[in-house]
């Protein structure tokens, strides 16, 4: 059985949905961060596959940008998580509700 573009796209969509669901239901800020990474990387998969199938390099170029952005986001995100942890000794996002209504 040949692995066509649709396989990649389907896998990507599945991974993306897992990321979204994980983000919605996990309470640990770091896990949520990882879910976001999962979403970004699933899109990367789509981009690479599309790029390859169309014989166009623009998608792959974007992937590089996405990776660097993801790295930067991870750095900032972890720094923020550490700052929160120092303050509250927890990274459970349900405890982060100083501002509401």
């Amino acid at each position: 059985m040949e692995i066509t573009l649709n396989w990649y796209l389907t896998l990507s969509a599945l991974l993306f949905s897992m990321g979204v669901i994980g983000f919605l239901f996990r309470r640990n800020a770091i896990v949520m961060l990882m879910c976001v990474e999962l979403m970004l990387n699933s899109v990367n998969l789509s981009l690479v596959a599309l790029s390859q199938s169309m014989g166009d390099t623009a998608g792959q170029i974007l992937v590089f940008f996405v990776m660097s952005v993801a790295a930067a986001e991870a750095a900032v995100g972890l720094a923020l998580v550490i700052a929160i942890f120092r303050d509250k000794l927890t990274i459970d996002v349900t405890q982060i509700n100083l501002f509401k209504y």
Partner: protein
């Protein structure tokens, strides 16, 4: 293309994006400079001068025809120059307001200025983008810097908490945004605006419109349109006040400008207009209605900023040249009003602790103790609620009138009704400022302060601009020149 040709092209492009380079390089210089000379007085000066220099350059090229640079990745001149000057001007004014504010709250950190510069770079890239890649890079550069700026007051849990919220939700929405780009890329085989449109006009299926929907999610999140707005009140409340002012104006202007260009250049004119109209209604209603019951004045202004995003969406939903130009004009007016309003609040803030005590009641009678702040605030509030002859009125007219022309009368009516609601909470600020006696244990009564001349100058400038743009229409003429029909054909051709 031989080497010398490539070289001369690069030099041309560098010249065309000189403003961007100045800001970016100054940001890098500041990071290094601050490492060796922490908290040096020159730091804000460098940042301010870099932004002012960029502002002047871009102001001068507003009249220039639209052009492309960097292998069609970026647009120059025309509307790009307008948005760039708006962002740069907003940044410069925010820096002037930030200097005394940081000193007051005791967090005079040099990196803040570098971060403002980097965020500005992101906004400039975003506002001048001509390709989804550039949009993505600009958007993310801006967002990451804003996360940091929101949370830099690490000793306050409010600040870090709101930064984390902002970060998580921002990254989450980025995921959708990126997926949208991927789908559009898959459907059209390109990420360049013009090419996307050409391909989409031939065939646009579920994949394309699904991609457009997800792309819009990213934009609507950044401009805080409901129901993607939920981060806004928490972040605006928690962030340092002048940063809130910067964030609520420049980043919104840049994101909206990019959205305008995407709608105008990349998408076939169908389907999305009614969708945007629906979101405009939700946004206006949610923003204005919830703002009514807010006690914290920063939070109230956050909801007000949501409502204003709704007004701009009304202009976009009309999908016409007048609508786009009205939206850009509105963004400019909105930027001036909000920088002023947050500037006043920054001066009145006696205790940033937890950000939870900036209640309206504690500001009772301020108008008499500080008549200057009271009266300038009055101008900003009247303009925000859209009283003529201030610019807020003309701005509303500029976005509602095209909607009526586009047969969206019901949308304009809802807009006017909700902005009538808004008058209540804007004027309540003035009632509290001027008509309520000062409470005995009002924190304002305990200590007095001087208004720094630089801040006063910024506030006066905002007031003057609001009056000027309110009674003259030349700015509106300028913005409508950007979307003339021939520009599109020239671009597509």
């Amino acid at each position: 293309m031989d080497l010398s040709q490539a070289y001369s092209m690069m030099m041309t492009d560098l010249g065309a994006t000189l403003f961007l380079l100045i800001v970016a390089v100054s940001g890098l210089v500041l990071v290094v400079f601050d490492a060796f000379k922490p908290r040096h007085v020159a730091t804000p000066w460098i940042a301010g001068l870099a932004l002012s220099a960029g502002f002047v350059i871009e102001m001068m090229s507003i009249g220039a025809p639209e052009g492309l640079a960097w292998y069609d990745m970026m647009r120059t001149g025309g509307s790009a120059a307008f948005v760039n000057s708006l962002v740069l001007g907003s940044g410069a004014l925010s820096i002037i307001l930030t200097v005394p504010y940081l000193k007051k709250i005791g967090h005079n950190i040099g990196e803040v200025y570098a971060m403002i510069l980097f965020a500005t770079v992101g906004m400039l890239v975003l506002g001048a983008a001509n390709n989804l890649v550039t949009v993505f890079v600009g958007l993310e550069t801006m967002s990451i810097c804003l996360y940091i700026l929101t949370g830099f007051v690490r000793s306050e849990s409010g600040s870090t908490e709101s930064a984390l919220k902002y970060f998580l939700l921002g990254a989450f929405s980025t995921g959708f945004f990126l997926y949208g780009i991927a789908l559009i890329y898959g459907a059209t085989g390109s990420m360049e605006f013009g090419a996307i449109r050409i391909a989409a006009e031939q065939s646009a299926g579920v994949m394309f419109w699904g991609g457009v929907s997800l792309l819009l999610v990213g934009f609507l999140f950044k401009v805080s349109a409901a129901p993607f707005h939920m981060w806004t009140p928490d972040v605006y409340q928690g962030a340092p006040t002048t940063i809130t002012g910067f964030m609520s104006t420049a980043s919104k202007a840049a994101a909206f400008a990019a959205l305008v260009v995407v709608l105008w250049k990349a998408l076939p004119a169908e389907r999305w207009a009614d969708v945007l109209a629906v979101f405009a209604v939700i946004t206006m209603v949610i923003g204005n209605v919830i703002a009514l019951s807010q006690q914290n004045i920063k939070r109230m202004l956050a909801y007000s900023s949501i409502a204003h995003a709704g007004y701009v969406l009304v202009g976009l939903a009309s999908g016409s040249q007048a609508g786009y130009s009205g939206a850009l004009f509105y963004l400019m007016v909105y930027t001036i009003m909000n920088i002023g309003a947050f500037g006043v609040l920054a001066l009145l803030e006696w205790d940033g602790k937890e950000g939870s005590e900036q209640t309206l009641e504690s500001l009772a009678g301020v108008g008499y103790r500080k008549p200057f702040l009271g009266w300038t605030m009055a101008v900003f509030m009247f303009s925000l609620s859209g009283f003529p002859p201030l610019a807020g009125f003309l701005g509303k007219w500029a976005v509602f009138a095209p909607a009526i022309d586009a047969d969206l009368v019901w949308l304009a009516i809802i807009g006017v009704l909700t902005s009538a609601v808004s008058a209540y909470y804007y004027l309540r600020v003035l009632v509290v400022f001027f008509m309520k006696p000062e409470g005995e244990n009002s924190p304002m009564a305990e200590h007095s302060f001087d208004i720094p001349r630089s801040s006063a100058a910024v506030l006066i400038a905002c007031v003057v601009l609001l009056v000027v743009f309110g009674v003259t229409t030349f700015a509106l003429d300028v913005t409508s020149g950007f979307f003339a029909a021939d520009t599109v054909t020239q671009f597509l051709g």
